[in-house]
Symmetry: C2
């Protein structure tokens, strides 16, 4: 082990290897439990990542990739392992504006990548709450979702090429900018959404879109669940591909983000059954504004919509989005447990009723469940007041959320991933044959089990 | 072997197993070399496919999946193997119009799936020349592309869930309709674009889109290559997500499809450097028509466009598309070799010049090269007159097309796949490490090497 640290220091330089208290200090995060790594490694380039894996492989040391460490499933927990931080691989290396592609290093923060694209008149349509800290490598490794999946797909759809390093240090250099490439197996898929358990992502080529010139945002009030999918389909049809977000908030969420100490103010009266933030982006401001207003007017006229307000300036658009982004309010009254499930829209009302009925009731109060999410994608975020954070309470809340999901064939993770936190529930959403196949893959690509061990598929 | 045939007959029934001359007769195809299969199997359901693989695995017999058998890379060649035809698994099982998803069996023809979606007011945006014969299972297994990739992505983007059977008969039942599902590895990716070498696709859940209510098609003439990407980007920006096709034809292709014996007539005068079919689809007919006319008028005014004609009726739209679809004309003057490459748009002119310079010249005539393709995706189809079809000539033409592609890091297959035909050239587009990783996957999922053996990654 000391030999391995010595060899790593020779490869990365002294400032590339933090050990002891330095490593533990570096591992502090408000978001996720990182544990006490054996060392924190800070490579500067792919060749150094390859060195790390070659050395770790020979020494049988576990390797845990660290991006922004804002994941929510303990996927970066690195107790006793070599944590490989991509913090010094944060460059936007190249943008080809004509072709609409960018090449970035894994450690590049999502927001920096988005801003670099925007500066060239282009759009990287990845829009996450954690945009300031999450990295491209982390977004690829977790197949990140976010607010615009409805239109642009998840991270998987934005990745044209990937460079990754295998467990033994082999570099897989697939930095290809081609939109269509059926030359053999599409092996980059192995590294997307597998949370660093099959290889470490070092660089990516991402597909960019033209930056829209129209931007319409509205806030809607709706009085019955059944109207929500009807409004969604109406908008999809009428806006012909321009609809980019359909974010639904249940009243408990709306109340939290529009009352002090939250800074947001209510754009529509309280008391409705649902609130929806909708967004459309296009290329023809005048016609797009008109079409957006028209479809909302039509929906008001049919009674599908109870009320609506359209943002009239960039400041107003930002204020509406700030409500959706102010997720921190859900934690203001005590400990919470956050979930990220997906299911068919039609199953949502009965599912949420079943969850509420099963949540544990510490004391006499009703358990609080705050719900919001990307309804267009079937993705809901559930925030449950935990009462306490004992192992028993946590498990009881998890069972309350996941057991009814099994009945409707939903997914225990729409976008956050599995990490350590949801590993025990993987079989709620996947069959034994599917999990066995995942383990076949893991054994084939990481026979020594050194890549982010224990995450996703558990110990082999 | 006879034991195995007996066991298969017991499982599938006598009409489910064709042998001897019956098998050879069933194997005739004008499109692809199918060889002389040991037997042609015609399962009716997933359980029978599972039986086939279990029996074949035990007996060490090769299994080759057959869909529409209109592939272009000899991926269905089944000499001495059990050919598994999905012809009796052709049903559209279910459409959930509210959720916008459909469940189909692998043998369902693409066109039948598209028509079933359309009947429910929805769109399955897969548009291939072989739509009448190609099957959904084949389209999934080859990650089919086609005319609308620009907007809707390839087959990979349309697949929400897959059911597949592994080499040993294990059924992987991932028939999940969720748009977002990060519950562990996305194992369906293993069966998309891997040409039946890692498992056999039996059913799929496909994502449908709202059926557009506006449909604009135009035919353009352009006099310089540099203007093509400028026009493409202009349309993308102005049409804000509605642009669904940008199909470029080089003059030799345009001449072929607009002169007798072709039935098409020229919508614009001959003599221009390039012709482009553009299509947009949206949800607001009046506004969309106007925006489409406006952006073309703008491009004419700047001189980017030399000429343009907009289809004014459904008959006119069909007539323009018929030109693009009349690929059969390229074979009317003798044997041809068809290629399907992708590369960066900016590399195309120099690449095509290099190909022309290298094509073998039998006799004194110039070799003929017909070019057309999905320029927006970087995907060109090259049709070379072979002169003769001797092994030497074929190899010389292949080298003429592929060698210059290597220089520009292009792909030897944008959408057709590798099969047997391009296997020797896989290393032109993939590194040794990438090919080794493909073989690791193949060995892990098909250790006995019975699944479509020899295809894509070659013999193990």
């Amino acid at each position: 082990m000391n030999d391995a640290i010595g060899e790593l220091t020779r490869s990365l330089g002294a400032d590339g290897v933090l050990t002891g208290q330095d490593a533990i200090d570096h591992a502090r995060s408000p978001w996720t439990r990182l544990g006490a790594p054996l060392a924190v490694l800070r490579p500067r380039a792919t060749a150094e990542v390859s060195d790390i894996l070659r050395i770790a492989h020979a020494a049988g040391l576990a390797v845990v990739p660290w991006g922004g460490r804002t994941g929510l499933v303990d996927g970066a927990q690195a107790d006793g392992a070599l944590a490989v931080s991509t913090e010094r691989m944060a460059a936007v290396e190249h943008i080809d504006a004509g072709a609409g592609v960018m090449r970035v290093q894994a450690g590049c923060p999502v927001q920096a990548a988005c801003e670099a694209a925007e500066a060239q008149g282009l759009l990287l349509p990845l829009d996450l709450g954690s945009r300031g800290s999450a990295t491209i490598g982390g977004a690829v490794s977790t197949n990140a979702g976010g607010n615009r999946v409805l239109r642009y797909g998840m991270m998987r759809e934005m990745v044209l090429g990937l460079e990754a390093v295998l467990a033994d240090g082999t570099v897989i250099g697939g930095l290809n900018p081609l939109i269509k490439n059926n030359a053999g197996y599409d092996i980059k898929q192995l590294f997307i959404g597998t949370e660093g358990t099959l290889g470490l992502v070092t660089r990516a080529i991402l597909r960019l879109r033209p930056r829209p010139t129209s931007h319409n945002v509205a806030f809607l009030a709706v009085d019955g669940f059944d109207a929500l999918p009807r409004i969604l389909r109406r908008l999809e049809r009428a806006l012909g591909g321009r609809l980019s977000a359909f974010e639904v908030m249940w009243p408990a969420y709306y109340d939290l983000v529009t009352t002090a100490p939250a800074r947001g103010t209510a754009p529509l009266p309280h008391g409705h059954a649902f609130y929806v933030l909708v967004e459309a982006m296009g290329g023809d401001p005048e016609a797009d504004d008109e079409a957006f207003e028209r479809v909302l007017a039509d929906a008001l006229e049919t009674g599908e919509l109870a009320d609506a307000v359209i943002a009239k300036s960039d400041a107003e658009r930002k204020a509406l989005w700030a409500l959706r982004d102010d997720v921190a309010q859900t934690a203001r009254d005590g400990p919470i447990l956050a979930f990220d499930v997906s299911l068919r829209i039609e199953d949502m009302p009965a599912y949420l009723e079943a969850v509420r009925a099963r949540l544990p009731r510490p004391g006499r109060e009703d358990p609080r469940l705050v719900v919001f999410g990307h309804l267009g994608d079937g993705n809901l975020h559930l925030i449950a007041s935990a009462g306490d954070r004992s192992r028993e309470t946590v498990r009881a809340v998890e069972r309350a959320v996941y057991d009814p999901l099994r009945v409707v064939a939903g997914s225990i993770s729409a976008e956050h991933g599995i990490g350590l936190m949801k590993r025990d529930f993987l079989s709620w959403s996947r069959s034994p044959a599917e999990i066995a196949l995942m383990r076949t893959l893991k054994a084939a690509l990481d026979p020594a089990g050194i890549l982010n061990p224990g995450k996703v598929v558990g110990p082999l």
